[in-house]
Symmetry: C2
Subunit: 215 residues, 2 copies
């Protein structure tokens, strides 16, 4: 399997393909063409084929792709055939909703720890909603807990003003992946995979496009 120079956009699209293949599978479909899949995912057919070509030959000429087969292959490529252990840091509105987000498990992401500066209060508030006791840890325990529970990825859902402090804590642990939900830009040493994911940036894009559309 190759791993040369794959555009990151390709990876994001693979994730989309995987989701759509699941839908097709549920509908009892067996084979899909690149043209089909492309249309459903809103991209060009050649794009689909090229994206897949980075990783091998998964189709049959004159036929298309076996859905189950392709889905499995994509999941292997993305690393979704293994469990990823995730921590959430900052249990406000957003953090709590991620914590309660059920479908997580489907995708081999498992939330193994939740942190907040106010563990007791937050635990009370969250367990009120679930009816079950919930464990919330203090961020100063991050280092040990990350090691013990083998955390792979941290999601930062604190207020923006705290994001860098959290990033500094993460830098001292065995965690290597970070999803930053705050609008703050965080600085981390080399070797960490950091993705920003702040939704008002996208909302701003929509606003901009609406503003300038019919010029």
């Amino acid at each position: 399997m190759k791993f040369s120079k794959v555009p990151e956009a390709t990876i994001r699209r693979l994730s989309t393909y995987a989701h759509h293949l699941e839908v097709l599978e549920e509908n009892g479909e067996v084979v899909v063409s690149s043209a089909n899949l492309a249309q459903a995912c809103g991209v060009n057919a050649a794009q689909v084929r090229k994206d897949l070509a980075y990783f091998g030959e998964f189709g049959i000429r004159g036929v298309g792709y076996y859905i189950k087969d392709l889905a499995d292959n994509i999941k292997t490529i993305l690393g979704l055939n293994r469990e990823w252990r995730v921590a959430i840091i900052g249990i406000g509105n957003l953090g709590a909703s991620l914590l309660l987000y059920k479908e997580f498990f489907k995708n081999n992401y498992k939330i193994v720890a939740a942190f907040d500066i106010n563990p007791a209060e937050v635990a009370g508030r969250v367990s009120e909603r679930t009816g079950k006791p919930v464990e919330i840890l203090n961020p100063d325990q991050l280092k040990e807990v990350a090691k013990d529970r083998r955390i792979d990825i941290a999601m930062i859902t604190t207020p923006a003003s705290e994001a860098q402090k959290v990033a500094d804590l993460i830098a001292q642990t065995t965690i290597r992946g970070v999803l930053n939900f705050t609008p703050a830009q965080i600085q981390m040493p080399k070797g960490f995979e950091v993705k920003n994911y702040f939704f008002t940036a996208v909302l701003d894009t929509v606003a901009y496009l609406l503003k300038w559309k019919r010029r």
Copy 2:
């Protein structure tokens, strides 16, 4: 002001610059160079200058950019100098947390309606958390409410399986912008600005990068 061929990536970065300029302003800074701003936002200095150049000349050679001035200009470009009226459709975990998200108001986005297929039950659940009564409407009222309340943008936070139905409803209204938080790809007629924003796509990217990194 131009509006020619601006890369969408530029718009997303402008949003980041705007946020960082606010932080600088709060710190009492007055002037910033493209090199400074670039570093803080994790991009190249020439990139910052080029992004701004699409819209005009905002800096002073040999000096830099006046922070307040530049921030105002970017907000005007993005359309953040006016109010954008937003609806949330689907009040589950995520929808509810967006509904309760306070900082929205800072950015001139105003949530003016919330919809769910189960208005009574959901309203009860949400108001339990806030302590205040909350209005949740039935999606079949979308058309009239969109007109009455002049909704600009809809955020879809339903389960994926319902996303297309919601999209079809939106297509019949005066709403023109859509932020789709579900993994489903939605089909809408021309003239709508649709952005997908599903976080496991980004999480998958992080997982992929971690998987292939040190090999």
